[in-house]
């Protein structure tokens, strides 16, 4: 056993990116990737709060079978807005734009992303998209579900489909530009010696995510444009009465929609690799398998979209193909889980909050992934399709997976972003609370789905009440679990103890520079010789 040196009395650097410049202009017109990460952090935290509040209201309403608070019409608008906000304005941008923006250039040894102005432009486009979308929510919202199925969304829905569609359309371009920027950065901006197989696995995951951004987002953009066109002129693109095919919309939507869920989970998987490596002080077991599984997921994810449409009127034979391919995409995810677990073997497992989140992620994502098999297999999907089983499954992946990863990553890199430490005890407590609350919220929903309770029901049969009340109780614990980090992070940004460049004793370029980093990241371009250079110090000079 060897040791790493952890600095004893860390001090903040005199000049760093946070105090290099003052005033609102220095933030709103910044092209520093680290400051843009903060802009995104504030924006998506706001959206998360709104979406979370909506979820809370929904869970409250479902305490009573006939609805505790509101009419079905309002409930329908709530879950639509909850879905769209969480997917397009929180989860999709969360890890890429906050942690990705902050870390990609630092992790590969660059001074900034390839196109800093474009990076800022993406944020403005994102804010414009968010404003247009929130405008539609405030005007009265949309009641179509986030899937916007035709002909409901084009002909029958009364809500503000048009402005909502425009909002999402615009947000797509923000994502495309971010993905483009990341891909060019990862390709062309790597420091000397940073070969592909020395890249941190977080970078591999974000690379795969960027591929999906670039190839999937334009399809949803054009599909939403068609929806808008159909809604304004009613020309029959998706209307069977005029010869249109409503199932075409589902094809176009899910061609984007399924890769989209990998946009949400892949970055989180990347964060996971870093959390486990840092939390165990160990190189990730089977590095190349984990790296390639990210790329494999990105590629196969584009060919499985029809498993959302087994019962939609799609051809039986297409269903078989989609089902088989869906199983194929499950394998790379399984490989990742096994490798993270194997990394812990004979590691030095810390019990700090980032590692606790990682452990939570492994557990919840395993359940989320395995229950995905129920929905990928043709037979079981017949009964479980569009029930709470689906809701539970994707929340296990999205909340249990993506958000756990996001929070874990935020804890791991918070000292790097602010130069301050967060209170560890509170963080562990919040993590346990999130884990427990989450399971109580979404565990019962698996049973509800098996019983046959359909999703998107504002009122439901009385025999489902007990499980629904359990779920709502869990949601309140979950809400507290999310509020606590908000408070202690805010506190620590101002009053937290100084962290020092490498509070975790972790490896990677980001831990070699001061916390917070200087505006240019590196005074001297680093030269890389190895990835995850844990192990005997003397072997890795340089």
């Amino acid at each position: 056993m060897s040791t790493v040196a952890v600095e004893l009395t860390p001090t903040l650097p005199e000049v760093h990116y946070l105090n290099a410049d003052y005033g609102w202009r220095s933030w709103l017109f910044t092209t520093d990737h680290k400051r843009i990460a903060w802009l995104y952090l504030f924006a998506i935290t706001g959206f998360f709060a709104v979406g979370g509040l909506m979820a809370t209201l929904m869970r409250l309403n479902l305490i009573e079978p006939q609805g505790l608070l509101m009419e079905p019409a309002s409930y329908n608008k709530l879950f639509t807005a909850h879905g769209l906000i969480m997917i397009f304005f929180f989860l999709a941008p969360s890890i890429p734009t906050v942690l990705g923006n902050f870390l990609i250039p630092i992790m590969i040894g660059a001074r900034d992303v390839a196109f800093p102005k474009l990076n800022l432009l993406s944020w403005y486009i994102f804010m414009l998209a968010g404003s247009v979308f929130m405008f539609s929510v405030i005007r009265g919202g949309v009641d179509t579900g986030w899937t916007l199925y035709t002909p409901l969304s084009t002909t029958y829905a009364n809500g503000h489909v048009l402005s909502a569609a425009v909002g999402i359309f615009i947000s797509g371009f923000s994502s495309i530009l971010t993905g483009l920027n990341f891909m060019v950065t990862i390709h062309k901006m790597r420091a000397p010696g940073m070969t592909w197989f020395r890249l941190p696995l977080f970078i591999w995951a974000l690379y795969a995510t960027s591929v999906i951004f670039i190839l999937a987002m334009p399809v949803i953009a054009i599909t939403l444009a068609l929806i808008a066109l159909e809604r304004v002129f009613h020309v029959g693109i998706f209307d069977p009465a005029l010869g249109g095919d409503p199932i075409l919309f589902q094809h176009l939507f899910w061609f984007f929609g399924h890769p989209e869920v990998y946009i949400l989970i892949l970055p989180s998987m990347g964060v996971m690799s870093e959390l486990v490596a840092a939390g165990c002080r160990k190189r990730i077991f089977g590095y190349s398998f984990v790296a390639f599984s990210s790329v494999a997921i990105a590629a196969i994810s584009f060919m499985v979209w029809g498993h959302h449409m087994f019962l939609s009127g799609q051809s039986l034979y297409a269903g078989f193909v989609f089902s088989a391919l869906s199983f194929a995409v499950a394998i790379p995810s399984a490989i990742k889980v096994f490798n993270w677990t194997a990394t812990m073997h004979k590691g030095s497992v810390s019990y700090d909050a980032p590692m606790l989140y990682a452990i939570g992620f492994i557990g919840l994502f395993t359940i989320g992934g395995l229950t995905g098999l129920f929905l990928a297999s043709l037979g079981t999907d017949v009964h479980l399709h569009d029930t709470y089983f689906v809701v539970a499954h994707f929340h296990y992946v999205m909340v249990g997976g993506a958000i756990m990863g996001y929070l874990g990553g935020l804890h791991l890199w918070w000292p790097k972003m602010t130069g301050k430490l967060y209170p560890e005890a509170w963080a562990r407590f919040a993590c346990l609370l999130v884990f427990a609350g989450f399971n109580l919220t979404f565990g019962p929903q698996f049973i509800l789905g098996y019983l046959g309770m359909p999703r998107r029901y504002a009122v439901y049969a009385p025999e489902f009440q007990v499980l629904n009340v359990m779920s709502s109780a869990g949601a309140s614990i979950l809400a507290v679990g999310y509020l606590i980090p908000l408070i202690y992070f805010t506190w620590s940004a101002f009053k937290g103890p100084v962290a020092g460049p490498n509070p975790w004793g972790a490896k990677g370029l980001e831990w070699t520079i001061p916390s917070p980093p200087p505006t240019n990241n590196f005074d001297e371009t680093p030269i890389v010789t190895e990835a995850y250079a844990y192990g005997p110090e003397e072997a890795h000079v340089g």
Partner: protein, 231 residues
């Protein structure tokens, strides 16, 4: 690298190590953007191929209602503009400022002619003939005869025209954006910014312009020629 010598003349952004890295990154970014564009048009191409296979007669009839002369004219126009654009890039490479400005102006004029003829004559003509679903869908007697000749159903022909307007409309929008890019290029060329060794901006605009040309190369047969024109 030949560029290294010119690097001092052109500003290198702080995040790049040298001029070459900047050029490569810019070009690669543009290609990625074009990949996105392929899928952006791809959604429409997907819908088009689906309905074309469902309603082949209707799409053939619709195609016959378009004026093939316009289609061929646009195609030749865009090929010419692509040539002048490509020669423009070459002129920038060789640092010939006047030649560059002349060629870019020619490109601009042809691009503008495309958009102008499309809007003023073809689309407006379609509108007068009642061939615009959603705005004025009332095919004339001759059009109806053509539709009946193919035993096609009116609503399905309307579907053809929807895709015709969506696809050419999106293309025309890209042309307008291209005209804007050419205008900035012209300004930069006049200021001598792109003939001092850093011609990358010309190259990027060129890539975009050629891509828009390629889209048309596919739109022309798909919209104007499908099923033959021998009726």
């Amino acid at each position: 690298m030949a560029d290294a010598a010119h690097a001092s003349a052109a500003p290198v952004a702080h995040q790049f190590d040298d001029f070459e890295q900047q050029t490569i990154a810019d070009t690669f970014g543009m290609w990625l953007f074009l990949a996105t564009e392929v899928l952006f048009f791809g959604g429409l191409f997907c819908g088009y191929s689906l309905y074309r296979n469902l309603y082949f007669e209707a799409f053939t009839a619709g195609s016959h209602l378009l004026k093939i002369n316009y289609g061929a004219f646009y195609t030749v126009l865009l090929i010419c503009s692509s040539l002048t654009m490509a020669l423009g890039v070459r002129a920038a490479q060789l640092r010939r400022r006047t030649a560059l400005m002349v060629l870019v102006s020619l490109t601009w004029i042809m691009g503008f002619a495309f958009v102008f003829v499309k809007l003023r004559y073809e689309w407006y003509g379609d509108y007068l003939e009642g061939l615009v679903p959603g705005l004025n869908w009332a095919p004339s007697r001759e059009s109806m005869e053509m539709i009946n000749h193919f035993h096609a159903a009116g609503p399905h022909v309307a579907l053809f025209f929807i895709f015709y307007f969506c696809m050419t409309g999106l293309h025309a929008l890209h042309m307008v954006v291209g005209l804007g890019l050419l205008t900035t290029l012209l300004i930069f060329a006049k200021q001598g910014k792109v003939t001092g060794g850093n011609y990358n901006w010309v190259e990027l605009v060129g890539l975009y312009w050629h891509f828009v040309d390629i889209v048309w190369i596919f739109l022309f047969p798909l919209l104007y020629l499908i099923g033959g024109r021998y009726v």
